[in-house]
Amino acid sequence: MAAMRALALALRAGAAALAMVAIAASAAEPTDISVKAAFLPRFARYVTWPASALPKAGGPYQLCVIGSDPFGSLLDQTAASQTVDGRKILVRRLNSASGAEECQIAFVANNRLGELNGMDGKPVLTVTDGPAGSPRGIIHFAIVGGRVRFFIDQASAQQRRLGISSRLLALALGVRR
C-alpha cells in the first residue's frame, strides 16, 4: 500500500512536471481563481451531509462565500452549470459566519479566516485558500506544479458528521485523519 502510494506520488510528480511545461507553453490557460471557482460547486457531489443539514426538500444546495469574494461572477457561472442529484447550487455571499448554518459549503475568504472557529462542529464543508500557516478549512486549496490541488481534513469532516467520498480523498494532496 505504501509502495503503491509512493509510486502514485512519483507518477503524479512526473505528471506535474509535464503540466508545468504545458502551462509554460500555453499562457492562455484558465487562471487559478477560475479553476477554484470551477471546483467549489463540484465538491458537493463527493460529500454527504447529515439529513438535518441537507437543503429543504427540492431546495438548492447553498454555496456560501464568507468575506471578500475572489471569484465574482465566475462562481455564479460554474455553480449554475453544476447539479447535485438533480438539485441546483445557489451561491450566497455572507460577511460573517452568522447565517452560514444553512450553507452546505462555505468558502472562507482570507480576510475572514477567524470565522472558522465559530463554525466548528457545524455540518458545513469549509473551504479555505489561505497562505501557509493560516487556519484551514476541511478542504484547503494549494497550488502544486502550477495546478490547483487541495488538502482534506478528514478528521474535522468526521467531527462535523460529513462523509467525504474516497474518490475525492484519492485526489487530495494530503489527508489529515
Binding site: R167, L168, A170, L171
Partner: protein, 577 residues
C-alpha cells in the same frame, strides 16, 4: 424384389446415411461452436463493459477535478490485462484526459478523433457521472478473441473434422470389408453349389453303379439258375437218352426193354417235378386251391414226415386249438412241409428233434393267419446263409444231396397263396421256419373223395386237339388215338375255331400259349358259340392262368401222362358246361 436384393440396397445406402450423419455432426459441432462463441462474446462484452464502468466510477473525481495524473493512474491499473488495446478517458467537453494504447501510440485527443472499432476488437464506453452529473466518458477497446480461445476453437473444429473424417474412413473401410466378405461368401456359396453338383453327380454315378451291381447280381443268379437247371436236366436227359438208345436196339429181351422204359418214365417224372418246383418258386404254378384243415393235414402227414426224417429223429407234433381252415393247393402245401422237414433232417445230421406246431397268429394288417412252425435242433445258419436260402439252386449240401429248389418252392408257394415264410436261425441254435397262410372264409369243404370215371373206358369220342408244337401235337394224337378216340388236329386257335364251326366235336383239348389266338381266347369264343362243348386247357406254364385262373375250365399240366390226360378228359366230358 427379393429380400436379398432389398438387404443389398440397404447396405449400399447405409454409407451415404453415415456420411450424412458425419456431416451433420460436423455442422452441429460448428453450430454449437458458433453458438458458444457468440455467448462467449456476449459475456466478454459484458465483462469489458464492467471494466469500463468501474474505470468510469473510479475516475469520476479525477475527471471532475481535472486531475489527469490520477485518471492515468486509474487507467494504468488495467495494463495488466493484455487484451485491452485502448483506454481513453474524456472529460465532459469530449477532450481526452488520460488513457493509453497497447501499441504505445498516444491516445486520440478527443472523442471525435477516436477511430471506429475494427472487426477484431470490442469497444465499450461508459459515461462518467457523479451524483447524477455527467462529467465525462470512458472508452475501452479489447481484443475480440483470445488467441488461446481462437486456437481452441479452431482446434475443436479440426477435432470435429478429424472425427468426421475418421467416421467416414471407418465406415468406408467397414464397407470395403463388408464387400470383401460378401464376395468371399458369394464365392463360397458358388463353391458349395459346385460341390453340391459334384455330389449329385457322384450320387447318380453311385446309383448307376448300384443298378449295375444289381443287374450283375441278377445275371449271376440267373446264371446259377440256368446252370442248375442245365445240370439237373442233363442228368435226367442222360438217363432218357441212354435208355432210349438201348430201346432202339433190336432183339432186346422183354425184361430189359421194360426196365429201360421204366427208367425213362422215372427220369421224366423227376424232370417234371423239377420244373414244377421251379414254377412254384416263380409263383407261376397253376394252383388248385381248396379248403384245408391244417391240423388234419399235418396229422395225416405224420407217417410221411417220419419216413422222410428217419427213425433217429424224434418228431413232435403240437397242434393248436382249432386253427381256421386255409385255402391252398393241397399237394403244394404238403410238398412245402416235406421240403422244410427234409432240410431240417439234413441240418440235424440225422439226430435230434423236429417239432411241428400249428396255431393262429395275426399279420401286420391284423388279419387272422394260420401258422405252421417247423423247428429243428440242428446246426443253425449264419445271417448270410439265411439271406440266401430261398434262392433257387442255392444249397449248402454236398453235390447230389439236394437240388437247392426245396425252400424256393416253399417261398414261391407261400407268396402265391397270400401267405409268408419266416426264418429264425443262428449258428448252434437250430432253425425255425414259420409258414403262415391266410384263413379261408366259411365254405363247405370240397369232397375230394370222388373218383373221376376212367376215360379209357369211354366210348369213342371226337376230339379236337389244338397244339402249335408239332411233336407235342403228334404225341397227344398218338395217345388219344391209341385209346380209340377220333382225333382232329389244329395248329392254331384260328384254325381250331374254323374246324369247330365246320364240324361237330365232343371235346376240345387246347394248348394255352400259342401264336395268334391263345387257348383261353379260343375257349372263351367257343363257350359263347357252343356252350355245351367242353374245353380242356393244357399248359406247361401260363402267366395268364397263373395270374387270373382258367375261368373254371379244366387245366392239365404238361408234361402230362396218359393216366392224367385220360382222367381229366373224362371229368370234363361228364361235368355240365
Amino acid at each position: 424384389m427379393t429380400a436379398r436384393e432389398r438387404s443389398q440396397i440397404n447396405w449400399r445406402s447405409a454409407p451415404i446415411a453415415i456420411f450424412a450423419f458425419a456431416l451433420l455432426i460436423l455442422l452441429g459441432g460448428i453450430g454449437v461452436s458458433v453458438q458458444f462463441n457468440s455467448a462467449y462474446n456476449r459475456a466478454r462484452i459484458e465483462q469489458t463493459q464492467g471494466f469500463a464502468d468501474v474505470l468510469a466510477a473510479s475516475t469520476a473525481a479525477a475527471v471532475d477535478f481535472d486531475d489527469p495524473a490520477a485518471a492515468q493512474d486509474a487507467a494504468n491499473a488495467y495494463r495488466v490485462n493484455k487484451q485491452i488495446r485502448l483506454i481513453a478517458i474524456f472529460d465532459r467537453t469530449g477532450k481526452a484526459i488520460a488513457g493509453y494504447q497497447r501499441t504505445g501510440a498516444p491516445i486520440p485527443r478527443s472523442i471525435e478523433a477516436l477511430p471506429t472499432a475494427d472487426e477484431s476488437e470490442i469497444r465499450v464506453s461508459s459515461p462518467i457521472a457523479q451524483a447524477g452529473q455527467h462529467v465525462g466518458m470512458v472508452y475501452l477497446d479489447i481484443d475480440k478473441d483470445l488467441k488461446s480461445r481462437t486456437f481452441a476453437r479452431y482446434g475443436i473444429m479440426l477435432g470435429l473434422f478429424l472425427l468426421a473424417a475418421l467416421v467416414v474412413a471407418t465406415v468406408g473401410l467397414a464397407q470395403v470389408q463388408l464387400r470383401r466378405a460378401n464376395r468371399a461368401l458369394k464365392s463360397r456359396a458358388e463353391d458349395l453349389g459346385r460341390a453340391n453338383d459334384l455330389l449329385e453327380e457322384q450320387m447318380e454315378e453311385r446309383a448307376k453303379a448300384e443298378e449295375q451291381l444289381r443287374q450283375s447280381q441278377k445275371m449271376q443268379a440267373l446264371g446259377q439258375l440256368t446252370g442248375g437247371i442245365a445240370h439237373d436236366f442233363n442228368n435226367l436227359l442222360t438217363v432218357i437218352q441212354g435208355s432210349a438208345d438201348m430201346l432202339c436196339r433190336p432183339e432186346l429181351p422183354e425184361a430189359k426193354r421194360a426196365r429201360f422204359a421204366q427208367a425213362i418214365v422215372q427220369a421224366a417224372t423227376n424232370a417234371a417235378s423239377l420244373t414244377s418246383q421251379l414254377l412254384a418258386f416263380a409263383r407261376r404254378q397253376p394252383l388248385m386251391p381248396e379248403r384245408i384243415d391244417v391240423n388234419a393235414l399235418i396229422a395225416d402227414m405224420r407217417e410221411l414226415i417220419e419216413g422222410t426224417v428217419g427213425e433217429r429223429i424224434a418228431l413232435q407234433i403240437e397242434l393248436g386249438n382249432k386253427p381256421c381252415a386255409v385255402k391252398a393247393d393241397r399237394a403244394q402245401l404238403q410238398s412245402a412241409v416235406l421240403n422244410i422237414a427234409s432240410n431240417a433232417r439234413d441240418a440235424m445230421d440225422g439226430r435230434g428233434t423236429l417239432t411241428i406246431r400249428t396255431g393262429t397268429v395275426r399279420n401286420a394288417a391284423g388279419d387272422s393267419m394260420v401258422a405252421i412252425e417247423i423247428a429243428d435242433t440242428g446246426t443253425g445258419m449264419d445271417a448270410e446263409t439265411v439271406d440266401r436260402i430261398f434262392e433257387p439252386f442255392f444249397t449248402t449240401k454236398g453235390t447230389g444231396k439236394g437240388t437247392g429248389l426245396g425252400l424256393s418252392q416253399v417261398y414261391g408257394f407261400a407268396s402265391q397263396s397270400g401267405g409268408d415264410v419266416r426264418v429264425d436261425s443262428a449258428p448252434g441254435r437250430g432253425t425255425r421256419l414259420t409258414l403262415t397262410l391266410a384263413c379261408a372264409g366259411d365254405e363247405e369243404p370240397v369232397d375230394a373223395g370222388a373218383r373221376p370215371p376212367e376215360f379209357a373206358n369211354q366210348p369213342a369220342v371226337s376230339i379236337l386237339v389244338v397244339e402249335d408244337n408239332e411233336e407235342v401235337g403228334a404225341f397227344a394224337e398218338t395217345l388219344l388215338s391209341e385209346l380209340g378216340h377220333l382225333v382232329t388236329r389244329a395248329a392254331s386257335g384260328e384254325e381250331a375255331l374254323d374246324l369247330a364251326r365246320a364240324r361237330k366235336f365232343d371235346i376240345v383239348l387246347s394248348d394255352v400259349v400259342m401264336p395268334g389266338m391263345g387257348g383261353l381266347k379260343l375257349a372263351q369264343v367257343l363257350a359263347e358259340e357252343q356252350p355245351r362243348l367242353p374245353v380242356v386247357l393244357a399248359t406247361g406254364y401260363s402267366q395268364e392262368i397263373a395270374r387270373s385262373g382258367s375261368g373254371g375250365r379244366a387245366v392239365i399240366l404238361k408234361p402230362y401222362r396218359l393216366a392224367t390226360l385220360s382222367e381229366t378228359l373224362a371229368t370234363a366230358l361228364q361235368s355240365p358246361q
